[in-house]
Symmetry: C2
């Protein structure tokens, strides 16, 4: 099954968090499950905070990329378009809020769930919860915006 | 010169963001400069968002660890204690807010500046700004708390 991120054009698929073309990255992959999106991720042993717990920066990164992916998926749905049609939607984060409700144990698979709170023009607001073994440990909220022209390669001079 | 994180005891120095003992991590190192703290970080070429810009999840991670380091430093200062005295202070993040004011160009060194907004009991609130070439691109705010007993190795059974 193709993830939302699998539909990103090459230019938009380099992200350290979710780019399928970034060989060093986390490869977050988000899927619709009814009206919510889901992504699963198993941290490496070195993704630690204090021993035995997952690093909060990594958790923020997962929330971030799952939310921008959810935003892209929601934008297609709002237009009644399939994700393999053009122009491609790609969102970047304007603001990120992460509440660490309790420590996240390191080892088991993490489940991220995204829910669209609002969609308006070029902005989408997404809530993400992260759970492990059925217990929610993190709640995030992301305001994402459609990628501005200034961040597109076509708008910048080629590198020297 | 020793960074705040260099004073963390071994158990607290494993963090993927700032642990000196994590060989895969970012090794964020925070230093006092008068009443503010500073950390510098040069992202790798693969720490990308869209091509040419720094990944937002990485930026959140830098904000996070610079803020918890700042919190530890501030706790010692509030007690009039040197950082090589015991008991050791170590903070974890309760909530993280990051505003991406503008895209952060990938390549140049990033400068993080931390400022203590409040310190009260086991909680410290820290503002972090991140700039590149003198321009602020990110503003973060972190509420950190002294590491709870439940996250200390001494409070947990040994792994099987």
């Amino acid at each position: 099954m193709k993830a939302i991120q699998d539909y990103y054009p090459e230019e938009f698929a380099q992200c350290f968090g979710c780019g399928r073309l970034n060989e060093h990255g986390y490869h977050v992959r988000s899927f619709w499950n009814g009206d919510v999106t889901e992504a699963r991720f198993t941290p490496k042993p070195y993704h630690t905070a204090l021993p035995g717990f997952v690093n909060g920066g990594l958790l923020a990164s997962l929330v971030d990329c799952h939310a921008t992916g959810t935003s892209a998926g929601a934008a297609y749905r709002a237009e009644g378009r399939e994700m393999d049609t053009l122009p491609a939607h790609r969102f970047v984060t304007a603001s990120l809020r992460v509440d660490y409700l309790r420590p996240t144990p390191l080892g088991p698979e993490l489940l991220l769930r995204g829910r669209v709170l609002s969609i308006s023009g070029r902005k989408v607001r997404v809530e993400v919860t992260l759970s492990v073994n059925g217990e929610t440990t993190v709640r995030g909220e992301v305001l994402s915006v459609e990628v501005p022209d200034s961040m597109r390669s076509s708008s910048r001079p080629p590198p020297p």
